[in-house]
């Protein structure tokens, strides 16, 4: 055995000692990871929802309203850790950044609908953003289900001065929405029965659905954890991500009913049959510059269902890009920092 081989085995042995040390810490003294560290200020709240403004140099005057998903998970994934945060990136680039945190809803909110969010909450949030930033226009950035919701809002509220709109992994054509679309088909999934029986969709049920979509996820995550357990930075990132990945959020009953029926089962948004607040939701009414980002390996909102928005909006300035990553890794993690964040901030800076 050569000296080089002995050195390599010594290094491996060192790694294993560090692995065991970190494993012991994880098991015996687990620490709550400090997520969401970018300085922010709550500027408005309504019921469970909050609007946060993040500190920035405000190099760009047009504020950005970020609309993520309602239910499923908490929005601190967008500001997970310093150096691994989409929000930190945007504020560092000089955007006046606002996050709409829909909040965690309880049984008292079971009557909340998608329509209420689109016609009441979103217009108010946009108004508060304009007031707070003292701007005449705002950009709207929708992620996941926040994208079709914000698109519906922009299409039905021409009086709100939206300068730009970005759809990040937000499904629009629900006939191409992949495995969830199949499972939620009318023939197999009786949404009325589910909501009438359960009232709201509990977090555990949401968790079961998402775990089932990728059943090997926990196994590969555990394997990767063991492999990288010697690396303190990896362990810190893992703890934060693991906390987020296991903190599921329930859906208010009526919201879920409308979301599944109108969007998944009847594809009303894409077909132009959606009506909200008495106004038809016509995506061709969106005429501002539009940027649509799909993720190549996204099995929750596959690129085809995201891309569909491009053909529906009335904008002349519109662009679609498909980036590496999945539904989450498109916007969170090392890959996102390399591929997605600079594209989004770059496009906004140019507009």
């Amino acid at each position: 055995m050569g000296a080089e081989t002995i050195r390599e085995w010594q290094e491996e042995l060192d790694k294993n000692v560090r692995r065991l040390r970190n494993l012991q810490t994880l098991v015996t003294r687990p620490v709550e990871p400090r997520v969401g560290q970018t300085p922010r200020e709550e500027i408005y709240k309504t019921n469970k929802s909050r609007l946060y403004r993040y500190a920035s140099s405000r190099r760009y005057r047009t504020p950005v309203l970020f609309v993520p998903n309602l239910g499923i998970s908490r929005p601190y994934i967008f500001d997970l850790l310093p150096g691994a945060s989409f929000i930190e990136h945007m504020t560092r680039e000089g955007f006046d950044f606002y996050l709409l945190d829909w909040g965690v809803f309880g049984p008292e909110d079971n009557d909340l609908t998608v329509e209420h969010c689109v016609t009441k909450i979103l217009p108010r949030m946009a108004q508060k953003v304009l007031q707070s930033s003292d701007a005449r226009e705002l950009s709207v950035l929708g992620y996941c289900m926040g994208a079709p919701m914000s698109a519906s809002f922009i299409a039905t509220h021409p009086e709100v001065p939206v300068k730009n709109y970005i759809d990040l992994a937000g499904p629009v054509d629900f006939s191409k929405v992949g495995v969830f679309g199949l499972w939620l088909k009318k023939e197999y999934f009786n949404v009325d029965r589910v909501v009438d029986t359960l009232g709201s969709i509990p977090a555990d049920l949401v968790k079961a659905g998402f775990k089932l979509v990728k059943p090997t996820m926990d196994l590969s995550m555990s394997l990767n954890l063991w492999w990288n357990l010697w690396n303190d930075n990896y362990v810190e990132g893992f703890q934060a991500l693991n906390r987020w990945a296991n903190e599921y959020v329930a859906f208010p009953g009526e919201f879920f009913r409308q979301w599944v029926r109108d969007f998944y089962q009847e594809n009303k948004l894409y077909r132009g049959e959606l009506v909200m607040g008495g106004r038809p939701v016509r995506l061709e009414n969106i005429t501002c510059p539009v940027y649509v980002v799909g993720a190549k390996e996204d099995y929750i909102a596959p690129p085809a269902c995201v891309r569909a928005l491009i053909d529906l909006v009335g904008s002349r300035d519109k662009e679609y890009v498909e980036l590496p990553g999945g539904h989450i890794s498109l916007i969170a993690g090392r890959g996102a920092a390399r591929h997605c964040w600079p594209k989004v901030s770059g496009w906004l800076a140019r507009h």
Binding site: N47, E108, V179, L182, Y188, F189, N190, K214, T216
Partner: protein
């Protein structure tokens, strides 16, 4: 020495193939799908990779920690192959139908149980002079509605202020 990795992988291949067939049979009880999932499409590259890894493992003298990285790579591919098999199976109409039926049965069983439990709890709390869950929820709902009415009022005041050329605070 050369036959050992081959034998090991022959055993592993057989196990993957049989498991995949069991899955396929389990999820299509009535009739086989027109194009049943073909596990060989997935395990073949993994198997080849594994064979190479094992061949290297046995050929290297002395063994280096690099073998562990190769082993990790093999496990990753093995998980990915299973992920694809499961993904393909779960992406079938049969699976969606089976899942829908199971969920319906679950709801049918849960509904009456839940109702009975709620009624009993409500009666017990009433007997103790305590508010029930539905009463507390009703109060919370009223607060939410009240807040919503205040918001609407605020919106109207803002609109009036704007009409008079004043910016709302």
């Amino acid at each position: 020495m050369e036959t050992t990795p081959n034998q090991l992988f022959e055993m592993w291949r057989k196990q993957v193939e049989e498991s995949a067939q069991v899955w396929t049979r389990l999820l299509s009880p009535e009739r086989p799908a027109a194009t049943p999932p073909d596990p060989t499409v997935f395990w073949r590259p993994v198997l080849d990779q594994g064979l190479q890894t094992w061949a290297k493992l046995f050929a290297q003298t002395p063994a280096t920690p690099d073998l562990l990285a190769q082993w990790k790579q093999f496990l990753d591919q093995w998980i990915e192959a299973w992920s694809k098999i499961l993904g393909q199976t779960m992406g079938t109409e049969q699976f969606a139908k089976l899942m829908g039926q199971s969920f319906d049965q679950f709801l049918a069983a849960l509904g009456p149980l839940r109702k009975a439990a709620e009624q009993q709890t409500e009666q017990a709390l009433q007997a103790l002079g305590l508010p029930s869950r539905s009463q507390v929820t009703a109060v919370a709902k009223q607060i939410v509605e009240l807040e919503e009415r205040l918001e609407r009022l605020e919106d109207r005041i803002d609109a009036v202020l704007r009409r008079f050329g004043k910016e709302p605070q």
